[in-house]
């Protein structure tokens, strides 16, 4: 099967990090929380640096030099951490965007998170730009003049900002305005946009795994000690800075201002911004049908409310006069159509209504639980061989039909999290010797929590649990993407061999028990 080259690249990077960090610490799975962590580093070091910093034009550069050289190990290292963490956050944010793009997680219901990420990016970049002003060195001068030229190119702003930067015109008032923006205005704006960015997610995590946080901080500290951040010569508005050691993470458009008219630079920047903003609507992918609640089969247990990864389910007082206190409601605008709610509903039990249509409290119109039961029965009936293995797999991991053989059949699900644990038990009771569940790679579920809930439900840690009577030796869970076919096939072969051994051992035990019984009868 063809996997697009962008996704293949992403999966290769992901695999490499899985190899070196494992899935729990894989930084690719924690780019958002890693960015949050870097913000904390920036905030703490920034507050620390604010104490010795002199906020006047005449004193700013000298105070930064004092911090860098005279207080090298107390404040200088904090300056370097502040700077390198700020640069690192651009890397993590861009990788975060690339990951979401490469794995197709920016269209459909995800448009909101994608679009609200854009003001975050703008705020981060402009926050970095104002930060560079405060050093008031030659680079600050270069950035200040460039920024002013860009601002002056906006037709509605008649005041000439650029004239603030001709010799003798720069005032402390203007400098303090920039300090206010950097220290308060932009951080508050960033906090607001970050809140907006994660607003449609439930169970939001903002801290990376401790090991990853420690490793990142350690790496940044070593870099800060080995290559401390330095300033240029003090700004001199009577001279043009000749050579600038530019921070390309934040200041990449400034060299363009020297080559292009300011208007063209704006067109480029705004054009890229708009293109990225409109990307969710540039594909033909559509969300599936949204989850539907059937109050006749819902007792308001709230398990679907707890499991929904996108806060699309709310609980309210019963409206149908039934004896239960509560009922759940799906907000179709927030629903990702993942089906995790159907997997969490205790009514999604295939042992119910065996001869009639199976109805459940919350279901997916495109693949109701009743259909999953029928698909399970059909797949088991079509298998031949000594051991019969049924593989349930999600639409976003490996296509399970690629694993099919005479003795192995697959049932595709929207997400592995939509699999009711009782359906696994049902399959084992109805002829399958083994059940394998494949989802996305661990910690990288397309619908955030699908494979995590499967793992917890099967381990008995999350309701609805896989009951104790289900033989765990006959169940395997494996995360894998489209490019992991060989790895999953290997695991499937091992599973097949294990099942065969188990079956032979059971047959042998049964035979010996029978023989023992016959000889007992004979001796009587």
């Amino acid at each position: 099967m063809l996997v697009n080259p962008v996704k293949r690249t992403y999966l290769a990077i992901e695999s490499w990090f899985n190899l070196s960090f494992g899935t729990e610490w894989n930084p690719i799975y924690h780019l958002g929380t890693l960015s949050f962590f870097l913000f904390w580093v920036i905030l703490v070091t920034g507050l620390y640096l604010f104490i010795p910093f002199n906020g006047s034009i005449a004193g700013a550069h000298a105070s930064v030099e004092y911090i860098t050289h005279d207080l090298r190990y107390t404040a200088g290292v904090m300056r370097s951490l502040h700077r390198y963490a700020s640069d690192a956050v651009v890397v993590t944010v861009l990788l975060h965007m690339f990951k979401e793009f490469a794995s197709g997680r920016y269209t459909g219901f995800r448009w909101f998170s994608w679009v609200t990420g854009i003001p975050n990016l703008w705020t981060i970049v402009t926050l970095g730009i104002t930060g560079y002003w405060l050093v008031w060195d030659e680079m600050a001068q270069y950035v200040a003049v460039g920024s002013a030229r860009l601002m002056d190119a906006i037709p509605l702003l008649s005041a000439a900002m650029t004239r603030n930067f001709v010799a003798g015109e720069m005032t402390d008032r203007f400098f303090i305005l920039i300090e206010f923006l950097h220290l308060l205005g932009q951080p508050l704006a960033l906090a607001f946009f970050l809140w907006l960015h994660v607003k449609r997610l439930s169970d939001v995590k903002i801290n990376p795994p401790r090991g990853l946080a420690i490793g990142t901080l350690l790496a940044l500290t070593i870099l800060s000690l080995v290559k401390p951040a330095l300033s240029h010569a003090p700004a001199d508005l009577a001279k043009v800075p000749q050579v600038i050691e530019l921070d390309w993470f934040y200041l990449n458009i400034y060299p363009l201002i020297d080559i292009w008219p300011e208007g063209q630079v704006w067109i480029l920047v705004l054009g890229i911004t708009w293109f990225i903003t409109l990307m969710p609507w540039m594909t033909f992918k559509k969300d599936g049908a949204k989850a539907v609640v059937d109050l006749d089969h819902c007792n308001g247990c709230e398990l679907c409310f707890d499991d929904c990864p996108f806060d699309a389910i709310s609980v309210q007082a019963r409206t149908d006069g039934a004896k239960y206190e509560k009922e759940v409601v799906v907000n179709p605008d927030l629903c990702a159509a993942c089906g995790i709610c159907a997997g969490s509903c205790p009514s999604s039990n295939p042992f119910r209504s065996r001869k009639e249509e199976l109805k459940t409290g919350i279901d997916m119109p495109q693949q109701p639980v009743d259909k999953m039961r029928s698909q399970t029965k059909e797949a088991i009936a079509s298998m031949e061989g000594e051991v019969k293995i049924l593989v349930y797999g999600c639409d976003h991991g490996l296509n399970v039909h690629r694993l099919e053989s005479k003795d192995t059949k697959g049932v595709k699900l929207i997400c592995s999290g939509m699999l009711p644990p009782t359906l696994v038990e049902y399959a084992l009771k109805n002829g399958a010797d083994g059940v394998m569940v494949t989802g996305c790679r661990h910690n990288d579920c397309f619908y955030r929590f699908g494979n995590r809930w499967v793992k917890q439900r099967f381990a008995g840690e999350r309701k609805p649990i896989l009951r104790g009577r289900a033989d765990r030796d006959r169940i395997r869970v494996h995360g894998g993407s489209e490019t992991d076919k060989n790895r999953i096939e290997n695991d499937l072969n091992i599973f097949r061999a294990d099942l065969l051994k188990k079956k032979q051992a059971e047959a042998l035990a049964e035979k010996s028990a029978e023989q023992a019984e016959t000889s007992q009868e004979g001796s009587r």
């Binding site: 494992g22 640069d87 001709v166 490793g215 790496a219 169940i475």
Partner: protein, 174 residues
Amino acid sequence: MSCWSKGVGNKPLRYLLQAFNYTIFMTVVWYFATSPSVRVIGEDEAMITVAFAHAGETREACRVLSQEELMKLPPNMRKLDDCPRERSPIVIEATLDGKTIYSKTYLPPGIFNDGSVNLYYNSKVPVGKHVLEIKMDDSVRKQGFNHQLTQDIELKPAQILLIEFEPLKGFIVR
């Protein structure tokens, strides 16, 4: 039951790989934090900057109102002169050793075209001795350039030669 990846089985090797990844990450951060450097101006170049705000003269001269016209106005609005608000565009030209380096016409901003023009212009020029000439026409009621300055200048590397304008003093070179 499950096969969740823990990374490379050998723990020291895993930590070594992690250290390698952190090193790559930090190298990228460090490199692009300062490199490649940008040369803003050549070693043998200076910059001429023109920067000032100036309102052109009104397009039409003020007219003294007749007694009859004044009486028609409310008492609090009886001004002797009626001055149209619209101002003249500003035409500016600068030459260096006879070669034009700057020539532009600025229209007055504002809904009634009555605002001050904010000029900002800069040009990289070779260092050394030059003859600078700058002239401005800020009135449609007068023919040709009504403000002018010609001056010998000597520019040092990276120097910014600032040209300003004050209505009473004319062009000022700093």
